[in-house]
Structures are given as C-alpha cells and as structure tokens.
Amino acid sequence: MTRVSDATTTPGAGRRACGPCNALGIVCVPLRLALGGLFVMAAYNKLFIPNGPQLFSTSIEAFKIFDPQTQGRLIQIGTFVMPWIELLAGLAVVLGVFTRAAALVLGSLLVFFIGLIASALLRGLNVKCGCFGSFSPFCPEQLGMCNIHQDAAMLLAAVAIMATTRHACALERLRRRTIEA
C-alpha cells in the first residue's frame, strides 16, 4: 500500500496513490447515484415543490418529538435545515466531491431516521413517514417496519461508499489529477 508520504516524496508515486479505481470504486458508482439521487429527490420534494415545506413540518410534528406550542421554532428550523443538509450531501455523493465525508453525513442521518422511526413505532404513533416528502417510492404511506428496512438498506450503501477509498467517476479524482499534473 502506498503511503501518503511516499506519494509526496517519491517521483511518480503520486500517480500510483491516485491510480486506477479498485473494483469497489466502480461498484460504488451505481450505489452513489442511487443513494445520492434518493436524498436529492427527498430534499427537492421537501424544499421546492409548492407546499413542500409545510407538509414536511407537519410530518415532523406528527412524530411528537417537539411540542408545537413551546418548540415551534425548532420545528421551523428543522423543516429547512434537514432537507438542505440532505441536498448538499446527496449532491456531493452523486458528483463525487468529498464523497466519503458526504456518505458519512448521509449514514449518520439514516441512523437518526431509523431511531426516529423505531421510536414512533414503539410509541404506537399512526403517522406517515414523510421521508421523501409527500412521495413514498418503496414503502406504504403509513409508517412501518418497511421504512426501517428501507433505511437500513440505504445505510449499507452509505457504509460501502464510506469504506471505498478510490471512487470512479468522481469530480474529486479529476481535481487530484489536475494537481498532480
């Protein structure tokens, strides 16, 4: 394995450090497109379709984590902050910019979502997921175990992307090559 110090001190070693992608880097391309694309779609539905933010705030309220009377401002902030983080991290994963860091963010979000859904199910709440805004591509509208399985599958994809050191078709590789040249 080529160490970073080798890459910087040995002539020609830099190209090896950022050499051809390994198999996992290529396998990860569809995973990146799928995972990042899903998050971008979810964020778009929550932020940019008419009434999207209002519907998402209703979804947040339904989970009964915050008291609307005293913590309304927190719901308001969460309504916008969460989708913007999803949008930026999703785009970064798709484009291959800070890929592993963006996958870490998405993975952390998914762990949070799984905990939230499990908590709602344990409390017997009869709510809709709101995970992808008003759309529910893989699971029934009503929150259930399917949503946990869906998020767990996405979490596996995020972990695979995080574990891959060299991603194919990534803008960050283009940047490295430019620096090396």
């Binding site: 970073v4 209002q54 519907l55 309220e61 902030i77 916008f80 870490l104 009869n126 809709k128 008003s134």
Partner: protein, 210 residues
Amino acid sequence: MACCFRSIWLQALALVGVGAAIGLADSMIRPVMIQRPPPPPLATAAGATGTQAPAADPPVKPAPTPPGTTVKPPDGAPAVPPPAGEVLTADLVAKGHITVAQALGLYGEQAYFIDARRQEEYEAGHVAGSFRVTLAAFSGKTPPIVGGLPRDGKVVVYCVGGNCDESEAVAKQMNLMGFVNVYVMHAGFPGWKDAGHPVETGPGVQEEGH
C-alpha cells in the same frame, strides 16, 4: 490514516455546517405554519341537539350521494348522546377540536365534512355526504374538491380519532388556503359511527389519485 479520517470528519462537519446555515436562512425567509389559528368557538358547548340557528346563507353541499352507495339514516333520533368518555381538554378545544355531538350540530347546519382517511377505510364507511381528501392531495396543488368550497363555510375534518393526526394536518392546510371555520372531530369516524349518526358506504366523492 488518522489524518485521512480527520479530514473526512472535517469535510463532513463542513457539509453539515453549510447545509445548516442555508437551512437556517431559508427558515427565516419562508416561514411555515406550526400552529393553525383556532376557529371561532361554537355557539353552544354541546351543540348536539341542533339548537344552533342555521346560518343566513348556509353553504349547500355540492355533492349528492353517488349511485351505488348505501345511506344509513340516523333512525329518526335527533339527538344522540356523545360517546361515553369523550371529554376534550381545554388545549384541544383551543385547537378547534369538537365532540361528535358538536359535529352533529354542524352536520345539521350543512357543514362540509372532510374524511382524511385511506381510500379503503373511506369506502368501507364514512360520514354521509363527506368528501375524502388526504394530506397528500395538498402536495403541489390545490385539491379540486377543497378549491370548490366556499372559504367562509364550516368544515369538519375527521380521520380515525385517537392517535391520528391526519385530520389536524388537513385542517391546517385548509387554514392556509383561507378557510377560517375548520373544526376537527376528535373522536373521528369510529366515534361518529358508534353514536349512530348517518353513515354511508361506497366510493362517495374522493380526491383523485390519492
């Protein structure tokens, strides 16, 4: 390797920070309604016996019962006591929740009833003359059924009662569209049905595609 992990964590924190900053700014530019304005209080506390005077120009329900539905009359009983134990807290009353008895009073005033439940639940039985409009119907457009109702008309929204928040969410959407007299029947359809009030089965009138 430790250096690599540190840079990943820093990049992740930067992503979250930028997203949070944009989101925070966005939340100040585009506020959302967290708590809906309470509707005007009903004239009587119980409202079950239909003693409220009808409005001078009561809204007319535009949807006759479609063919193929069965309507169960209320057996001629004008007043049915509310379900046992149905007591609304002051908090719920302030949010515009009403009892089944109060909802019956509004039913007598030709108020519009909106069913926010799933299609199969609606078709298995719903308040006679009610429309089915779910929260999803408000996504990206004005539901045609709701768009055709007068903004000053009285509206009662219901779902399955208990832990169901769908009716409250639909009521909020209607408030955002300019409706001012939107009430939530707290006990939902089970409370209405158990009280022996008019119900019907069949396709009824539903928002398409939801």
